[in-house]
């Protein structure tokens, strides 16, 4: 049998994953280094009966995918740095109105136009807090081409299941690199669709959550004739100024993620059993962390790695356990210490924290992590 192995780019794997997950609509606007996602979506979607549109800007792209999702299509947009900033307005809308959708951000160096073709991870905090107000967020960070495929599917599944926008927080290294992948058969892939109402139009309350805190979602055109708004609303979906109802809504939006966080949170750890030192990294930097760990282990240094796959919600519980037995955490990231803030909050003073930061547009090299670790040995 011929091998299914092939060379694939990260951005291409994202589209392949999206289509496997059932994406039927993509709206985007060209921006490096995410443009290939739009280009490949434009080519592939019509082949599966799906639709692509290049909107006039990133704000409109975000709006269009929300509209398409309400009308029943699994939808995605892709962007980078400046475009991600523009999407925040309607990303907040999707959070409040609980509209499933996937937002890909292939991070590049910033702020502002920055270094458009260079890798960075400076949007970790923006992914969490970019839109105004408290809002629920799930953000996934792939560190290989195959994982980009898998996590794009997961992004759609989580989005559909929890009625929340899901951010696929890539970086230029993973988005642009090509590597050997073998994709699974479609029949092996689990696909989750949003739950639809089982009651009649008269009885349908579009924002009345079930016990799992998630309300069933009708499609426009199904005859439910329901209202969706970005204003605080009650279970009927209509605006309210009632403080008790507004409070209940805002808390439920966060609680629905909190309640299910064990199903959402994912991380990978290597060689942590006997590790004195654990390198924490995400995305493209994890590739350097793996090399650094292997080289240090050869020298007899007990190093492990911890890689949040869901950067939001952050895999906190396991990190607290590790903090009890690890001496030093090394947080390596292509920014000036965003994930380190979260790690610091979680580990408190239980272990030492060292940062490896780089924002010059180059990848963090394994040697730079090794050097930093050898300094503290």
């Amino acid at each position: 049998m011929k091998s299914k192995a092939r060379l694939m780019q990260g951005n291409e794997a994202c589209v392949e994953g999206a289509i496997a997950a059932g994406m039927k609509f993509f709206a985007g606007y060209p921006i490096t280094p995410s443009t290939e996602v739009a280009e490949i979506a434009a080519e592939k979607l019509p082949l599966v009966g799906g639709k692509f549109i290049q909107m006039e800007d990133e704000i409109a792209s975000m709006a269009a995918i929300i509209g398409a999702s309400l009308a029943g299509s699994k939808s995605m947009t892709a962007t980078s740095g400046p475009g991600f900033s523009l999407k925040q307005e309607n990303l907040g809308y999707a959070s409040l109105a609980e509209v499933p959708c996937v937002i890909v951000n292939v991070q590049r160096s910033g702020p502002s136009t920055g270094l458009p073709t260079s890798p960075a991870q400076g949007d970790i905090m923006q992914a969490r807090w970019g839109s105004h107000g408290d809002h629920p967020v799930i953000a996934l960070t792939p560190s290989s081409v195959r994982e980009t495929f898998d996590l794009t599917i997961k992004a759609f599944n989580l989005s559909e299941k929890y009625r929340v926008p899901v951010i696929l927080l890539m970086d230029e290294i993973i988005g642009h690199m090509r590597e050997r992948v073998e994709l699974p058969e479609i029949s092996e892939i689990e696909i989750i669709d949003r739950k639809k109402p089982t009651v009649s139009r008269e009885k349908y309350l579009p924002y009345k959550a079930d016990d799992d805190l998630i309300p069933p979602m009708a499609y426009y055109g199904d005859g439910y004739r329901f209202h969706v708004t970005g204003l605080a609303h009650d279970e009927t979906g209509f605006p309210t100024n009632n403080p008790a109802i507004a409070d209940k809504l805002y808390r439920r939006l966060l609680d629905k993620i909190e309640l299910h966080k064990n199903e959402i949170i994912e991380w990978e750890e290597q060689c942590t059993d006997d590790a004195d030192i654990v390198i924490i990294s995400i995305g493209g930097v994890s590739r350097a962390a793996d090399t650094a760990m292997k080289q240090l282990r050869q020298k007899g240094v007990k190093v492990g790695t911890y890689r949040p796959i869901t950067v939001w919600p952050f895999p906190e519980k396991r990190l607290i356990e590790l903090a009890d037995k690890v001496n030093t955490f090394v947080v390596a990231e292509m920014n000036l210490g965003q994930m380190a803030l979260e790690v610091e909050r979680i580990i408190k003073d239980k272990a030492e924290l060292i940062k490896v930061n780089k924002v010059n547009g180059e990848a963090i090299y394994p040697e730079e992590i090794i050097e930093k670790i050898e300094e503290v040995l």
Partner: protein, 272 residues
């Protein structure tokens, strides 16, 4: 007792609406439902989308699938809805600030694509929801709370803008000229492509008071006395049109519709 149209097409449990006494928006909203009724459309296949502002509260009162979006973005949301389900009749309700200031870019591109959406712009010449700031359609030298000495901006001519940007059906009417408004909306919905109808409203609370335009009734009378139908205007002497404004059907030139054109690509390339 609400009228038959109101009972049929409005969410009567959400009434009364939030608009000020004398506001023209109620008349325009009713005109939309009358047009829908006359066309005999399947109401479960109609989606009404709005942005932010006084006008954009209208869909909340209308018994269809309705979407109240973010400021200026209604047309972009509507584009996604129409793309995902072209069987839906998508109607956008927006205001002068919503559609031509913050949403100006979305407006010209929706026109350019000729996507089958009917946009009705409730033009009250002012930002009402925030208390009377001047908008892109506030006439030059008129006042707003942010133009205390008179507005130095030139106003947009919305139908000219839409026609130039590629809308295939364009018309204008007023809150006073309701029969014309209803027929323009009917024709707009019937047009397979992007239709834009400017509905000139009245805002006695902010625009009217700031600019000494009198009561709502006086403002409607002004509309009656100053509007000239484009069909009649062509036969009138130019000087008799001084100080008047045109209403009527300005453009009706169907072209291939966006989602249908895209469907051709799918039909050509889709793999079974």
């Amino acid at each position: 007792m609400p009228s038959a149209i109101v009972s049929e097409y409005f969410r009567t449990n959400k009434l009364p609406q939030i608009w000020c006494p004398g506001c023209g928006h109620g008349i325009i909203t009713r005109a939309i439902t009358v047009a829908i009724d006359k066309l005999g459309l399947d109401r479960d296949k109609i989606c009404i989308v709005s942005g932010i502002g006084c006008s954009s509260r209208a869909p909340g009162y209308m018994d269809f699938d309705t979407l109240h979006t973010t400021h200026g973005r209604a047309l972009a949301f509507a584009t996604g809805i129409k793309m995902a389900n072209p069987d839906l009749k998508v109607i956008v309700i927006t205001g002068d600030g919503d559609a031509t200031a913050i949403g100006g870019n979305h407006l010209i591109h929706a026109c350019r694509r000729n996507i089958d959406i009917t946009a009705i712009i409730y033009n009250n010449n002012i930002y009402g929801m925030t208390g009377g700031q001047y908008s892109p359609t506030t006439p030059k030298f008129d006042k707003g709370t942010t133009a205390p000495y008179g507005n130095v901006d030139k106003a947009f001519d919305i139908p000219a803008l839409a026609a130039a940007a590629g809308a295939t059906y364009v018309g204008r009417s007023t809150a006073y000229h309701t029969q014309l408004l209803i027929s323009l909306i009917e024709n707009g919905i019937k047009n397979e492509g992007f239709s834009l109808i400017e509905a000139i409203s009245v805002c006695p609370t902010y625009y009217g008071r700031k600019n000494k335009k009198g009561s709502a009734v006086e403002m409607l009378e002004w509309q009656k006395n100053h509007a000239v139908n484009i069909a009649a205007a062509s036969k009138m002497a130019p000087e008799s049109l001084d100080g008047k404004f045109l209403i009527g059907e300005f453009k009706n030139s169907p072209e291939p519709e966006y989602t249908k054109e895209y469907q051709k690509i799918i039909d050509m390339f889709k793999k079974e």
